[in-house]
């Protein structure tokens, strides 16, 4: 059925925002992590989205117009580490400085709100499409 296209697109949006939430919560959880398996402090993860053209399952008029969304890439932010003098810290370097992660908690909170609102928006679009489908069934009653 053709309205399943909308379901597919909103579904991809929901998945993408949920993955974004995973990345954000990883950043928040590691806000004070000073050691990682690859060495050094935790590096803030950044995620980008990419459009995902739908191949089939919708009207011919919209063939090239409609895109779902997918996760583009997850990269590490390389700059913005803070050094704190703490010689007693197990991860302190020979001069007694500890490098803290480049996670800005306020930035993560705004990203979190954006992701959660975007998730809600996708869910609302889904509900709207469902209501349209149900309304269509009321025709002639």
């Amino acid at each position: 059925m053709e309205f399943f296209t909308t379901f597919k697109i909103t579904g991809s949006g929901l998945s993408a925002q949920r993955k974004k939430m995973d990345v954000i919560s990883s950043n928040i959880a590691n806000v004070t992590t000073t050691s990682t398996p690859e060495g050094g402090p935790y590096k803030r993860k950044m995620m980008s989205f990419a459009s995902d053209p739908l191949e089939k399952g919708f009207d011919l008029d919209l063939k090239d117009a409609v895109n779902a969304v997918k996760v583009g890439q997850v990269t590490d932010e390389k700059e913005g580490f803070k050094k704190v003098f703490d010689p007693a810290h197990p991860d302190a370097d020979k001069d007694g400085f500890v490098t803290l992660p480049n996670v800005n908690l306020m930035l993560e909170m705004t990203d979190l709100i954006t992701a959660s609102r975007a998730y809600e928006a996708n869910a609302t679009a889904f509900d709207a499409m469902k209501n349209m489908a149900l309304k269509a069934m009321d025709i002639g009653k």
Binding site: M1, F3, F4, F7, G11, L14, R18, F126, L134, M137
Partner: protein
């Protein structure tokens, strides 16, 4: 009298429509001879598949800790709406049947 004549001659008589013919739907021939029963049966099979998909999606969320909640909900809604469409079609068929049965002979 003359006015009447003038109006009549200036208005072109209506011509029968020629260029327009009912457009035949694509694949018209393939649907010929397919009974309504088999169409309905196919629809029910499709809906059954959607219901099974929804079941699988829920099982995935609850058992394997792998699926996402929204995927399960979307599968459920798909199954639900398809089922409702099928019920509407069934109601219409029953209405038509009862209408025929009420016909006085």
């Amino acid at each position: 009298m003359t006015d009447d004549f003038l109006i009549r001659s200036s208005v072109d008589p209506l011509k029968p429509l020629t260029g327009i013919e009912p457009k035949k739907a694509e694949g018209d021939k393939s649907t010929e001879g397919v009974s309504f029963g088999s169409v309905l049966k196919d629809a029910i099979t499709d809906i059954n598949k959607l219901q099974n998909d929804a079941d699988k999606a829920i099982a995935k969320v609850q058992l394997e800790d792998a699926g996402s909640i929204h995927d399960a909900m979307i599968a459920l809604e798909k199954a639900g709406i398809s089922f409702q469409v099928m019920m509407q079609v069934r109601n219409k068929i029953l209405d038509a049947y009862q209408e025929v049965m009420r016909m006085s002979v």
